[in-house]
Amino acid sequence: MSAVAAPPRSGFLASLNGRHHRAALNTFMVVVIAHWAEHLVQAYQIFVLDMPRPASRGVLGQFWPWLVTSEYLHYGYAIVMLVGLFLLRPGFVGRARTWWTIALAIQFWHHIEHLLLLIQVQGGFTMFGAAVPTSVLQLVMPRVELHLFYNSIVFIPMLVAVYYHLRPSRAEAEVMRCSCAPRPVASLA
């Protein structure tokens, strides 16, 4: 695949995807990894501490249990992911951009699913004839499996994108305009 689509050269997006791209990407990845760390803590609570599943709520959930079941939190995180994927996309080129775009497209649908849930919760009604607020994919998969499913199919393309962004080919590196681009080094010749 050819290395294409370097970021625009002026404005907020240009700055974010230029000299601030590494810092912004690092910050975004910290948020994403922190979310996974919460799930790892939950797994630790279930498998190692042998805590009952409803009591295994990660770190934040231990102090604010309502967070775990809050539709606002889930929708908020979906929005943060969507905005982050959208804003940081111009900084990616070549294969990294392709994988990042895949993650963005999946996250867009994930966000629609959360929006459906939030509307049902706020409106006090349910859709698809279900007894509880239900998303589209939830019709074939239970809710508890959906959260990790959606986040996984967004997370893995993101990881691949970040890998290609940090280890670009020569062609890709030559069109990168962000602060993640490889630094020139003294030639040995």
Partner: protein
């Protein structure tokens, strides 16, 4: 960096294990019909009110007749507030047992059973062995199991992170020669 990350993870795990006991389980506050009541006519539903709002997605209620058979006629509904209502169909006078296992919004759990009679004129006696076994089975079936797909996905995600970190470590970045113009901002 790796050391710092490991220390942070250890801190988080310790914090998590220390924080857990701080949240005691909640409990059943009241029910309609009340525990031990002898109601003359069959109610259309059983209502249970807890110390905190139940999370229905993680909760279960079963209403059993004298033979230990479930008699719920629909899904449990939440509301108002901390109350859960379960519609039932009572075919004949007898003693009913309500078994519940609730996850509460405050993080606690409420597990137990209560009995009342319908149309017998007397309070329900101690449950028969059949009903005791059916109640135990209902509660056991309601225990929250670990979702294997989520566990698998978590493992795959963790593996993906490890693979990417290993590749980043093993494959050094492409480096442009010094005569290449530095286009970075």
């Amino acid at each position: 960096m790796v050391r710092r990350g490991g220390a942070l993870l250890l801190f988080v795990l310790l914090l998590s294990s220390v924080a857990s006991p701080a949240f005691a389980d909640g409990g059943l506050i009241t029910s309609d019909p009340a525990a031990g009541a002898a109601v003359p006519a069959a109610p259309a539903a059983v209502a249970l009110t807890f110390s905190d709002a139940p999370d229905l997605a993680l909760s279960h209620v079963a209403v059993l007749d004298d033979a230990g058979n479930p008699i719920q006629s629909g899904d449990a509904r939440q509301g108002p507030e901390r109350t859960v209502t379960v519609p039932i169909t009572v075919a004949r006078p007898g003693n009913l047992t309500v078994a519940f296992h609730m996850a509460l919004a405050n993080g606690g759990e409420a597990t137990g059973s209560l009995r009342f009679s319908v149309g017998t004129g007397v309070a329900p006696p101690a449950p028969s062995e059949v009903v005791q076994q059916a109640t135990a089975d209902a509660l056991a079936a309601h225990q929250h199991s670990i979702d294997p797909i989520s566990a698998f996905l978590l493992f795959v995600d963790g593996l993906a992170v490890v693979v990417v970190l290993a590749l980043l470590y093993l494959r050094r970045p492409y480096q442009a020669a010094s005569d290449t113009p530095d286009t970075r901002p």
